[in-house]
Structures are given as structure tokens and as C-alpha cells.
């Protein structure tokens, strides 16, 4: 079952970068500014640093089982039935988040670009591309990420370059007013979307990696690049829009692109910049969807995961429409239930796995010795 497919370290780096930026690029500056005000960018730096510990946890787990996916690791450590049950909860999370991202992109387009297009049409279009990508396989997704990361870089550099003249440094002063506690608190959701949710990457890392040592490095580097992008965007949002507007807008980085005006000539290019978010959203959705489809196939011991793609794709579109009744609900859900869900799967579960595994190892050693 596609065990012979391998992706290289650079492709994995592109995937990790896209994944850790995915949704955060659109909404995280607002979430950070809500609690930390003008110190939101410091909260982003804090978050990035703490997130490294989470990534380290994943790498630790991965290096013990270099040929297994997360679902298989669960079964190996926790036993067949408990393992399968836990994996089901994990797969369900990935599936819900895939639907959630469809909702994100649909609302984003609905609010800013196409107010009269029904969301179902927008969601079907994105889901269709995701389904095509996943049925072509992991290698295809990885290769396209490798190409699109270049487009992304160019657009992002242009955005930063064009917005520089609009910066007002008074907006970020006084620095460190919020104090360490609110800053740490508001970075919790940042860590969730950039690092903790990256637990779904354990479905491809390390099982489909051709060089574990290099891929580990790309996991860290990719994550740091993603974090840096968010830090820069948060800083720019605060410095250009001010702390209030950054917190009040649903999509502050899009509002940022609206402010671009170089010599009354280069202006109104926000729709072009929206390409950045759509790209990042696409790859993140694909990875969530791949993890849920492939994970479900492994739980059910199917030989091939491909028959599941189209039915689950249809379900994910419908789910994306009924998941949240409105945008405010989604915001609340993310801050409460979504947060607990992610942390229990992305932090608590790996720690439990590591502890149980260590206990079993010492137990086995003792048995052998006796």
C-alpha cells in the first residue's frame, strides 16, 4: 500500500512550511492582537520558540518508528483496540479540520471577493482540487508544493516590500506593555495552528521519507520559516493597521494588502495577494484530507486508500457547510473546543505514547534480564 513512495527532504520542507502557515497567515495576527495588543508580534516570537518543543516531540516519536505512520504507531504502542480507538479520534480531528479549512476559504472569498457566490460553489471548487491532488498521491502533492513555494516566496516578498512605506512605528510602541502573561496566553492559539496541528504530518513523516536525518532538519527549518512569515505579517499588521484594527478585522493580512499604494501606481493588488493565502490554504487542506483518508484506510486495514477519497471528499464539502452556523461561532469554537481537541491530540497523546513506550522498553529489558 504505497509504501514504496518516498519524498525527499526539500519537498517535505515545502510541505511543512505551507502547513505551519496555512490558516495562521489569514487569522493569527487578529487572534494575537486580541490579547497582546501592540505586542502581538512578540507573542508570535514566543509562540514560535515554544512550538519548537512540540516539533521536537514529534521528531522523538518518529525516530523510534522510522517506517510507521502515526496510526500504526498508536497501534504498536497502545495495542490493537485502544490504538485503533485513539487513531479514530485523531483521524476525526484531521477530517474536521479539512472541512474547517474549506469553510475558511469559502468565508474569506465570500466576505472579500465574491459576496454573491454561494459558499457551496466555492467549497466544491477547492475540494475538487484537493480530491484530485490526494488521488494523484502524496508524491504529486509534495512536488507541486516544491514548485508553488517559489510563487509563494515571490508574492510574499513583494507584499512585504510594497507595504514597508506604510509602516508607522508609533503603532508598536510602547513595546512589552502587555506583560509576559497575556503574551504567553495569546500565543497558545498560535502554537496550536502552527505546531500542534502539525501532528497530522506524522502520517507522512517518517513513513514516506527517504532520508530521516535530513527530513528531521527540514521539519525544524520548515516550521521556523512558517513562524518567521507569521511574525513578519503580525508585525506589519500591527505597524500599519494599529493594534485595534488588527484585532477587529477577520483577515488583517488581507486588509494589509489593501493598504498597498506605491506612488498611486501600484495599488489595488490585494486580489493578487489573496493568491498567497489560497495557496497555503490548499496545501494545508490537502494534508489534512490526506491524513484523514489514509489514516482511516489504515485503521480499517484496507489494501488501498483510494476508494475512500471521493466519498470522503463529498462528505467534507457538506461538513464544511454545516460545521459552523456562522463566523462568530467558528471563532468561539476555535478558541475553546478546537483548542482543547488539538492540544490533547497534538501534545498530550504524543507524550503519553512516549512514556508508555519507554515503560514497555524497560519492562522488556527486565524480562530479558531475568
Amino acid at each position: 500500500m504505497m509504501q514504496n513512495i518516498k519524498i525527499n527532504a526539500y519537498q517535505f520542507l515545502a510541505l511543512v512550511t505551507f502547513f505551519s502557515m496555512g490558516t495562521s497567515i489569514l487569522i493569527i495576527p487578529a487572534v494575537l492582537a486580541e490579547g497582546a495588543k501592540q505586542d502581538a508580534w512578540i507573542a508570535a516570537i514566543f509562540g514560535t520558540i515554544i512550538g519548537i518543543i512540540v516539533i521536537w516531540l514529534f521528531c522523538l516519536l518518529a525516530q523510534w518508528f522510522p517506517n510507521l505512520t502515526f496510526v500504526q504507531i498508536n497501534e504498536k504502542i497502545l495495542g490493537k483496540w485502544i490504538g485503533k480507538a485513539v487513531s479514530l479520534v485523531f483521524v476525526f480531528m484531521a477530517f474536521i479540520y479539512a472541512a474547517s479549512l474549506l469553510f475558511y476559504s469559502g468565508t474569506f472569498l465570500n466576505i472579500h471577493l465574491m459576496p454573491n457566490t454561494p459558499m457551496i460553489a466555492l467549497n466544491i471548487l477547492l475540494a475538487l482540487v484537493v480530491v484530485i491532488g490526494v488521488s494523484l498521491g502524496l508524491e504529486t502533492i509534495a512536488r507541486s508544493a516544491e514548485i508553488f513555494i517559489l510563487f509563494f516566496t515571490i508574492l510574499f516578498i513583494l507584499l512585504v516590500f510594497f507595504i514597508l512605506p506604510e509602516i508607522k512605528l508609533e503603532n508598536i510602541q510602547p513595546i512589552f506593555e502587555a506583560g509576559p502573561l497575556p503574551i504567553l496566553k495569546s500565543s497558545a492559539s498560535f502554537i496550536e495552528v502552527t505546531a500542534v496541528d502539525a501532528v497530522v504530518l506524522l502520517m507522512i513523516f517518517p513513513a514516506f521519507i527517504n532520508n530521516l536525518k535530513q527530513a528531521k532538519k527540514s521539519f525544524y527549518i520548515g516550521y521556523l520559516i512558517g513562524g518567521l512569515v507569521i511574525i513578519i505579517l503580525t508585525f506589519l499588521s500591527i505597524a500599519v493597521l494599529g493594534p485595534y484594527s488588527t484585532a477587529a478585522e477577520y483577515h488583517p493580512s488581507y486588509e494589509l494588502a489593501k493598504r498597498i499604494n506605491v506612488g498611486d501606481f501600484i495599488q489595488r493588488i490585494e486580489a493578487l495577494m489573496a493568491g498567497i493565502w489560497i495557496l497555503a490554504l490548499y496545501f494545508k487542506t490537502s494534508l489534512y484530507f490526506f491524513a484523514s483518508v489514509f489514516g482511516l484506510a489504515q485503521i480499517l486495514n484496507l489494501k488501498d486508500y483510494k476508494p475512500l477519497i471521493v466519498p470522503l471528499g463529498a462528505i467534507v464539502v457538506v461538513l464544511s457547510l454545516i460545521l459552523y452556523p456562522n463566523v462568530i461561532y467558528q471563532k468561539q469554537w476555535n478558541a475553546t473546543i478546537g483548542m482543547y481537541y488539538s492540544y490533547s491530540i497534538g501534545v498530550v497523546l504524543p507524550i503519553v505514547l512516549i512514556i508508555v513506550n519507554a515503560l514497555r522498553k524497560t519492562h522488556l529489558k527486565k524480562e530479558k534480564a531475568s
Binding site: 471577493l113 465574491m114 510602547p174 506593555e177
Partner: protein, 395 residues
Amino acid sequence: MKKYIFGLLFFSLFLSGCWDRRELNQLAIAVAFGFDKVDDEYLVSAQVVVPSEMSVNGGTGKSQVTLFTARGETVYEAFRKMTKESPRKIYPGHLQMLVIGEELAEEGIGKSLDVLSRDPEIRPDFYVVIAKESAATDILNVTTTIESVPANKMFKSLKVSEEAWAGTKSINLDELLTDLISEGKEAAVTGIRLIGDPKIGSSKQNVESIKPAATLQYDHLAVFKGDKLVGWLNENETVAYSYISNTVKSTARPISCPNEGVATIEVIKSKAEVKGDVKNGKPEININVQVKGNVGSVQCEINLNDLETIAELEKSFEKKGEENGKRTIESLQKNYNVDIFGFGEAIHRSNPKEWHKLKNNWDEEFSELTTNIKVDLTILRTGTTDRTFLEKVQE
């Protein structure tokens, strides 16, 4: 199979389209909005361009813009109601000006601005002005020369006078909203006045004469407390405000010569630094304005070749500037008790901890605030000549 897929893809080329497609001939492009309040209802006016008159072929000589008005309990309702009169839906993406009537401004502008910050089609980079002594709808009902779209005239006039004269101060919606919500700064918005006969003003006849019967002019600066208009600053005070808020790009200022008569300094660069400080629990503001300028005109008999004369001219300018700045701040402290300069923000930046104690009764603190203002002019050039012919004029 491949043939079918190819065929399907080929035909889908012709089926593609955009759900939210709105062609140019379905849009009424609004360039200026006016908000007024009439009997507890909002009166919204939209100045909309007439595309056929804007065409390169010259049109038929009718007015290039038209004015739609509608009343509603909310501004947004009035926007939509406008379609009763307008054959096309109002498209605000190219909005340049928002004029707010004085009466509405006195009542409070905040409620009417929410829709503008919420609607995705509106870009917050248009200018906001207050109609002084008239309704906004009357301001939008005046034809103008040179720029035949009145909104363009208002936009460019404000931009150019801010850059060349400093007696007006532009503010766009984004900046206005920032000032409205700021704890340490109140908003100040430039005023616009209708001068002349408003009845002729709306007709084509107005611009057919050399001197139009009615014109639009920027004058005075509206001072806000919260979102309510509380008073107007005159021109000299506006100039001081422009210096302190660091928006002076270039201006001309008359100063008195050492002996008698006047000269003009052409300011070409100005940079103001506002620094907050708290001494013994009392806030203090230090303003330092660095100005670079040229001698623009001389209307007195002085010897420009003397370095001392230059120094005296500099001193004269500095003294006048400092006095004007001091007077303006005092008048705001006494008459309105409103901090439009953002002194509170300056203290917030420099002393964040003390600011949290001060901010609750900042209005009172502001009225007793000590301010030190220092102007420093450097004269760089004297134009194309180093003397004045007035010395040689035979009496």
C-alpha cells in the same frame, strides 16, 4: 475515454464565467458621499459619475456627475434605497470624498461610519471633510471648474493645499477611525465651505463664467471630542496643528523683518518630534520642530549678504512659530479641553505605566499640561538672488 474528457474540458472553456460578475454598464460609480441628519433620519447623498459624459468623445455637454439622495434609519438602508432613484446599484469602490454635514457632526459621526468600515467594497483611503455652515448634500451639489468632477476637485484641492500650504489637514477614514478609538488622541477634520450662491452653484451656468458664482473652499479645522464636533480652529491654529502633527510638507510664512516690513519664508521641510515625560506624577510634553526653509520674498530693506540678517530672520520665524504653537495649545486647553495632538499617546509611548493612571482623567490632565515648544529654522537658500532691488528703488 480521453476523447470524452478532452471534449468536456474543451466545452467548459465556453461555459466559464463569474458568479459575481458586474459589468461597467451595471455600476453607478460613486465618487463622493454626503451624510446629513434630517428629523432623526440619515440623508445620504451620492455623487455618481455619468459615464457617457466622461467618454473621450466629449459627451453631450451635460453635467459629468449626478446626485442621488435617499433617507433611511441607517446609512446602509439609505444606500440600498437609492436604487429607487438610480437605475444602477451604487458602487463605492472608487470613493474619494466623504462629506459630513455640520449638524450630524455635532450629534456624533461614529454611528454613521460603522458601515464604511464593514463593507468589503469600500476602501478606507478616501478623505473625510466636514461641511461648515451647510449640509453635506449642498456641498456635493456644486459644479466646479478645471476638474469637472466635483469630487476630484475636492480630493485634489485638499491634497495639493496640504502639501503646499499647510493651512488644511487631510484625514482619511482609516486615520479618522484610529483617532476616534484612541485614548490619547482626539480627531480633527478639515472643514469645507460653500462660498457664493448655492442656487446657481448646481447648474452648468456656474462654471460657464470666469468667476463661478459658487465655489468650494477648504477652511477651518473641526475639533472633535469623542465623535462629536465641539468647535473650529482658525487658519493659524490649523497651521500650528499641522506643524505639531508633522504633516507640513511645504508652506509660505510671512515674518517681520528686523527693522520694519515683512519677508516670507518658504518652508521646504519640517520635522516635529513630540516627546512625553512624567515628572513627579505630572505629565509634560516637549515639542521640537526642525524646519528647513528658503527666503521666499523680501518686502523690506535688508542686507541678505549679512549672516547676522539671516540669523535674525531665523529668530523671527522661530519666535513667531513658537508663539503660534503655544497659543493654539492654550486655546485648545482652555476652550475645548480636547487633545487633538495626540499628547496622551506620546505619554503612553514614553511612560506606559504612568499613563494607565493618567488616562482615566486625561481631559483634566490635558488642560493643565505643561508644554514646551521649540522651533528651529535653518535657512538654506535665498532664491536666485542674494540681494533685494528694493534697496535701489528711488523714492
